[in-house]
Amino acid sequence: MRIRPRFFIGGCLIVLAIGYLIFSSIRSTSEYYLTVPEVAARRSELGGQAIRVAGRVKPGNIAWDPNSLTLKFEIVPIPDVDAAAVRPVVASDPVSFRVICVGEPKPDMFAPGRDVIVEGKLGPDGAIAATQVMTSCPSKYKPKQSQ
């Protein structure tokens, strides 16, 4: 099939426009998707950058005030099951970040020890100001062993 040059040009213009749209939007809307240790390692370059952090809710230190819809907790790394067996976890100074989420209801499945994804920004004080806290829900449930 032959296509006249001007059609070729028209088609190319559309393709270029779509490409530009994708390129520019990626730049302006991207979020770093990081684990808690990665946030610690890149702390200096993350100021003001939108981030999404996967971690685990540390038991204790959880404060929920329903009147102001303020949720405060600490997020710690999700332990890597395989790695823990090989090299013992260094007990001293485990990485953790304070998370403060204001104006959102507490997620249904939120509980100590639960894996969560926190969306927000890392503040200069080292705390994550979250716009959203999502619990990642296990879709497959192991049958209870006791039954």
Binding site: I3, S25, Y33, N67, I117, K140, P143, Q147
Partner: protein, 673 residues
Amino acid sequence: MPQLGNLALAIALILAIYSIVANIYGARRNAPDFVVSARHALWAMCAMVTIAVVVLWAALLRSDFSLEYVAAYSSTTLPTVYKFTSLWGGQQGSLLFWTWLLSIFTSIAAFQNRRRNPDIAPYALAVLAGVAIFFLLMMNFVTRPFDLLATVPAEGSDLNPLLQNYWMAIHPPSLYTGYVSATVPFAFGAAALITGKLDDGWIRSTRRWAIFSWFFLTLGNMFGARWAYEVLGWGGYWAWDPVENAAFMPWLVMTAYLHSVMIQERKDMLKVWNLSLIGLAFGLTLFGTFITRSGVISSVHSFTQSGLGPYFLSFLITVTLAYTALLIFRSKDLRSPAEFESYLSREAAFLFNNLMLVGIAFAVFWGTIFPVLSEAVRGVKITVGPPFFNRVNGPLALGLVFLMGIGPLIAWRRTTTSNLVRSFAAPVAIGVATGIVAAAAGLRQWYVLTAFSLAAFVLGTVLVEFRRGMNARRHMVAEPRAKALVNLVAKNNRRYGGYIIHIGTIVAFVGIVGSSFFRTEVKKSVHPGDSFTIGSYTLRFQGLDETDTPHLESATARVQVLSADGREITVMSPAKLFFKRPQQPATKVAIRSTPASDLYVVLAGIDDSGQTATFEVFLTPLVFWLWAGGLMMVFGTVIVMWPNVRERAAIATALSRSSTDARELADAAPGGE
């Protein structure tokens, strides 16, 4: 019983392999007996997969927890209807269900083509059998639906509560039907490439399949959006989650395909493009399954991560490479004698519409896989959320809507200026007037103004088309208007059904724009007796009612809704549910829907003393029209697919005369069955 299921799947695999060999041998050596026996093998394969499905259903209904699958996805307290739908609640079951649909569609295609398309049908059926083999291999060796548990649990771990909802009962089957039926046109396209019979025979033979597939993809996406809206409780219906994108991309490509095949039928152009589109549509259905099943891309509502990913990826790569090689091999024969003549032609409008649709599909694809790419290239996982998809697809959607208005009215080949003015004067006036009225009413966002104006413009063009057709009819036959309208649609069901789909799309588009731009949200913790406002509504929290059954505990809030003048409009009952097995909370949203706006109330939390309840309330304008538009699209597609009585009669008369005439007529008729 489980052994029966395993046996049936093993026999089905053997039959599928036999059918490939016999089809190809029969077609190459011109041995019709082999082609016939291959067909029979496919029917037997379908019977075997049906047996396996029945066995699994029986096990689910009888709560036979010796089966791993039943123990994992059902329980004795699960309502019967959800025991039934648990068939597609988990991985092995959904693969079995998928294979079942594929074997049914393959059997139907084999039946339709028992006398038609003797050149390409055997190869097409061989391709279908090849796809079935992949799924049967998975179920025989990788993820077996009939595996037994060493110790039989007393109780199953139940279906995910989020799936215990009637939308979830109908959403996966619709989507799977759409996915799987796309395999039929793909197989015929591949057969055309293999045999070199590259006229539009393969398109005409599978047109109904393509529309059928599109119909169910539309339903599947709509049901999924509706499910998200009613069940997930975040006030929206579409989050650009990878799983949603996986369902959306094949729909986009199928839409492009349905439009561009019209150009090949009319003008004998775009052969390579059409073959590529159908290959892409099929590839995207595999890709969708791959990303939902592999866990490569994290999705908030992720499915079971499993070892299936590499198999699907390998199959996807194999299919893509083989198909591309075929396209390159046949590229010389795919040249078209015709060419585009003018920008102001329907061909050009269709071509650009195709570029837009595929462009959107590509943007969605890119955004979906971007985290994986960025991690591979830069070592950091960078995600793009809804803002990315909205920014890219927003402008493209406007372009698409514009072309939707242009395409149907503009002439084939080239249009004269006077023609343009005559066709478009009224619609343009309608569009501009709508824009002015909207601006006068206080709308200021340029996107919304443009979107509403373009929507009105498209509706104007469709009205012009209907009026034109009715006038032409009434010129020939004296009919009252209403009768002329009904006859017009009935006699030209493909064309006018298509216009009804366009109206539905525009209505849905208006709903999407309105709900995206004007949604308001209030989050509030209140005590019983307290009230708060959203928009013109006042909501008063009256108290909580708690219930407890063996299946679940629930707390239901009574929320009185008052209008601005203090009159009670209704009492809404959002609830918090707590499922006992698995122990998991869920939210039951209360929605009051009106054409102007939806009031959407979520009971987001209750504090332990039961004294404070936290509500999340959304007021979403125009979202009603998204569902209304969806219904119109469905209605229009039914009209398009409706068997045209006149054509059938013509085929039947010709059949009694001579069989060759009939075959030609049957091929010429839309759908050509």
